[in-house]
């Protein structure tokens, strides 16, 4: 049952990156919208994510619950050492969700829309960046179990160029994902052109930031690059991700919406898969101590058995409902609630 629970954890993180990531990316895209197209971009984003964003973010809750029930040591050690970035992540989550909802449900559309939009866009960047930074930090090999002071205990574990570069990489990746998703059949040519431009920029940014991750791994001596190049699976996956890119562009140029979306999702799977392959089963790298892995920090078997069955039962309810939700709202003309 341990492996069932691990599978659910990895899948939840993937789906959070894929679905939640596209939502965050939408916020980042909004931030980069030119002045004259601002309103159009906003409307497009609202239409695309309003019915589904709450559900998309549940994957984070599922991942957190799996961590604290199935791998309590992982959950608590992250909670202590990465307290500060976790709080910043939380602030971002709170601001983003509320600002988006407020913007949509404010009965009077006036100047306040501008404020909600700013908060929504900036907090989207904030959540994505800190989410990436946290992922970088847990494998930076800088978490100290018995720190000698405040800096070593609560700052040093995450404040390094490697973690920061992972945060930046994730921002670029999510923006790329979102722009691919947002290009759909019934947008006008001008908007389409603008989004294609954004997709290109996000694409380049992701490639450059990805390179930075490798460079800073060397600079900060976190061992990521070495691990990566000694792991054939991750090398193959990154090659596959790279090969997907020209295919994706071909598909986008020919306006194959769904093929493009699926290719973007697959590419994310390759990238995340490569990351999993580099580290599995390690989750938290401890300096001067034994790393926490999904195997050595797992809860007792009976707990995992209950958790595993709860997840299996839950997914039997969630997946069909979620599938139906996406199917219903796949067309882009959404009928709003109106008085």
């Amino acid at each position: 049952m341990l492996y069932v629970v691990i599978l659910f954890l990895l899948v939840s993180v993937y789906l959070y990156c894929l679905l939640g990531g596209a939502d965050f990316g939408a916020g980042i895209i909004e931030l980069t919208a030119s002045h004259k197209s601002k309103q159009r971009v906003r409307d497009l984003i609202t239409k695309a994510i309003a019915p589904i964003w709450e559900a998309n973010h549940m994957w984070l809750i599922i991942a957190v619950v799996i961590l604290f029930m199935g791998f309590p040591t992982v959950y608590t050690s992250i909670s202590i050492s990465l307290y500060i970035p976790l709080i910043l992540l939380l602030l971002g989550i709170v601001f983003r969700g509320t600002a988006f909802t407020f913007r949509h449900y404010d009965a009077i559309k006036d100047q306040s829309q501008e404020i909600y939009s700013r908060v929504f866009a900036y907090s989207s960047v904030m959540v994505t960046f800190f989410f990436g930074l946290l992922i970088g930090a847990i494998v930076s090999n800088k978490i100290v179990i018995n720190p000698s002071g405040f800096y070593e205990g609560y700052i040093y574990p995450w404040l390094n160029f490697f973690s920061i570069s992972v945060g930046i990489f994730l921002c670029a990746l999510f923006a790329f994902l979102a722009s691919v998703y947002l290009i759909s059949g019934n947008i006008d040519d001008e908007t389409r052109k603008e989004f294609l431009g954004k997709t290109k920029i996000a694409n380049m940014a992701a490639v450059i930031a990805g390179g930075l991750v490798f460079i800073f791994s060397f600079v900060e001596d976190v061992g990521f690059t070495e691990r990566f190049f000694s792991n054939p699976v991750s090398i193959v996956l990154i090659i596959l991700a790279t090969v997907t890119l020209p295919l994706l562009w071909m598909s986008m140029n020919r306006k194959y919406e769904w093929i493009s979306r699926i290719l973007a999702g697959t590419q994310l799977l390759f990238i995340l898969g490569a990351f999993y392959a580099v580290y599995y089963p390690v989750v938290v790298m401890i300096r001067d101590g034994e790393d926490l892995t999904l195997l050595n920090s797992a809860a007792p078997d009976i707990t995992l058995a209950y958790l595993g069955w709860a997840l299996i039962t839950g997914s039997l309810l969630i997946f069909p409902a979620l599938f139906y939700l996406y199917r219903i709202f796949k067309s882009d003309k959404s009928e709003e609630v109106s008085v």
Binding site: I52, E54, A55, V65, T76, Y83, A107, P300, G314, A321
Partner: protein, 433 residues
């Protein structure tokens, strides 16, 4: 302020904030569904407008509830790593089930809010009902986890480690039935009276506004039933507490001496220094009866227990008085509502009755908050009753005051914005008639 106290304030405050939105998120969908049902049956446009108006409230409150709930799932570990280290494997079960229920709720809310012209009317109605049902179920799971903190079960505690873990027994611990039923009824009571009160206040300003009239009747019908049921649930809960946590009962009652045929103290100020409760009204024998069903039963006093294990007696006692006071008042208002409704329906919209209902707006929520104060403050100094002290569980991270102030500020802003948004919704509703 020391770190432990700051962390307790932060968590207490986060919970106190979240519970309001959680209550509304759990039970408001039922009001919406009733109105929606009436629209589908009677085809009266007013019900359609009301359903849509309420659904916007649900959307706003659900979003705040969801993000503040997400914050809590992180704060459990951030503030109480010592607790989660052990409790995760034992009591994570209801949380993982809650995750599923919450997920279904989030999916169904998408269907309901955006499904008006896409789903068949009754499928659409069912999605609304499922929002409420999954909301209540997820609330029950979370309260189950809290019940375990009050009555830990499903493990053996040996030298600071848990052995022989049984997540099933932990979840269905001795307190789960009483706590979840009490809280679920409370959520309906608080939300329904809050909604009824708001519409009553609006009716005072805008007479004969049909939406408000119908809204108040629906909300009061539901709220009054909950309010009348609640004292029975409260009695059941009190007897359960008397069995499991006699010290908490003593603190609730400000009972310092062990007594046979102990009297029930109404009001009063416990003085922990002098170990006596002053200024209260005593009803002889009633505490023994309420706690054990026997007027002569022995009730253990605070003095029976070591003082270092006492919870803050004053807060626990006063919170209990507030909860019972508010609850009793609402129960009487609930009965009054049905009497007037059967005798002379039009009197329901008289100024006097509208004012009375208006006064009730915050009372249910006040009772909910006070009730949680009783449960949580009354469990101190333990985080897991008689197993782990709160001080052993707190994070080593210094500077908790910063976290506290930041979250205080954010939740204050969110509350103000939510109120402002509601007022703007109402303004537009009134303008459009």
């Amino acid at each position: 302020m020391d770190n432990l106290l700051a962390a307790r304030f932060t968590f207490g405050f986060s919970l106190a904030f979240h519970i309001i939105f959680a209550c509304i998120g759990m039970t408001m969908p039922f009001l919406m569904v009733i109105s929606h049902w009436l629209w589908l049956k009677k085809k009266d446009e007013v019900y359609l407008k009301l359903t849509k108006t309420w659904s916007k409230g649900v959307a706003i409150f659900f979003a705040i509830g969801a993000v503040s709930g997400t914050a809590l799932s992180f704060e459990l570990g951030l503030l109480w790593p010592g607790f989660m280290q052990h409790a995760g494997a034992i009591i994570g079960m209801p949380f993982s089930l809650e995750g599923t229920a919450f997920f279904i709720e989030a999916i169904c809310i998408g269907f309901f809010l955006y499904g008006w012209n896409r789903l068949k009317p009754w499928v659409h109605w069912t999605s609304g009902l499922l929002v409420g049902v999954s909301g209540v179920i997820s609330g029950i799971f979370v309260v189950t986890a809290n019940a375990w903190m009050n009555s830990p079960a499903g493990f053996d505690w040996i030298n600071g480690q848990a052995y022989n873990i049984d997540p099933f027994k932990a979840m269905f611990n001795p307190a789960w039935v009483s706590q979840t039923s009490h809280m679920t009824i409370a959520a309906f009571e608080a939300t329904a009276f809050g909604v009824a009160g708001l519409h009553a206040i609006l009716l005072l300003r805008k007479k004969n506004f049909e939406i408000h009239k119908k809204a108040m009747i629906i909300a009061l019908s539901l709220g009054s039933i909950a309010a009348v049921l609640q004292p029975f649930s409260g009695d059941f809960t009190a007897k359960n507490v008397a069995q499991r946590q006699p010290l908490k009962l003593a603190a609730i009652e400000g009972q310092f001496e062990t007594e046979q045929g102990a009297g029930l103290t109404i009001g009063g100020i416990p003085d922990v220094e002098k170990e006596e409760t002053n200024y209260g009204i005593k009803i002889p024998g009633f505490l023994s009866y309420l706690a054990y069903g026997d007027f002569d039963a022995e009730v253990k006093g605070l003095k029976e227990f070591p003082k270092e294990n006492w919870p803050p007696v004053l807060i626990t006692h006063l919170s209990f008085q507030v909860m019972v006071g508010a609850g009793t008042f609402l129960a009487f208002v609930g009965i009054l509502f049905w009497i007037i409704r059967f005798r002379n329906r039009e009197k329901l919209f008289s100024n006097a009755f509208l004012k009375l209902i208006g006064i009730c707006t915050p009372l249910g929520f006040l009772a909910v908050e006070a009730g949680w104060f009783v449960t949580e403050v009354g469990r101190q100094p333990w985080i897991i009753y008689e197993i782990m002290r709160t001080s052993e569980a707190v994070t080593p991270m210094p500077g908790q005051i910063v976290h506290l102030l930041a979250f205080l500020l954010i939740y204050l802003v969110l509350t103000l914005v939510a109120v402002w948004l509601m007022s703007r919704q109402i303004k537009v509703l009134h303008e459009r008639g």
